[in-house]
Symmetry: C2
Subunit: 74 residues, 2 copies
């Protein structure tokens, strides 16, 4: 697992929890498999921009809100 995927996964999880939303609801609304949402949040997948945007719509944020800055990766 690389640091980028882990940071994105953490950001998605905290945005989701801020909305008091569980993984099942996020998966259903974003039309993503529930177990895949779990893998995304654990930083186990190299997310595509398409799925990133689908998740952003549901979490009511911009893609940039879920993405770490370069400085966060070093």
């Amino acid at each position: 697992m690389n640091k980028l995927s882990k940071l994105i996964g953490n950001n998605i999880r905290s945005k989701r929890k801020n909305l008091c939303m569980n993984q099942e609801t996020l998966a259903l609304l974003a039309e993503i498999d529930r177990s895949y949402v779990g893998r995304i949040e654990r930083g186990e997948v190299n997310l595509t921009v398409d799925k990133l945007y689908r998740i952003c719509v549901i979490l009511k944020c911009e893609a940039a809100d879920l993405l770490p800055l370069h400085g966060d990766l070093s």
Copy 2:
């Protein structure tokens, strides 16, 4: 090709050209196949965040600089 991929491709191309960099140099430095860089810029691929970040490093920008806002997609 969806609008998201096309907008990201356009953003990458214009950042690259602003740096007077050709596709070969971007591909070499980002360690991505040259023809794949062409497909990315034409909006033909669903880019992963890993490749997006590799490109950003070379183009000296943040990922958010290459990503459209939701409003740009409607």
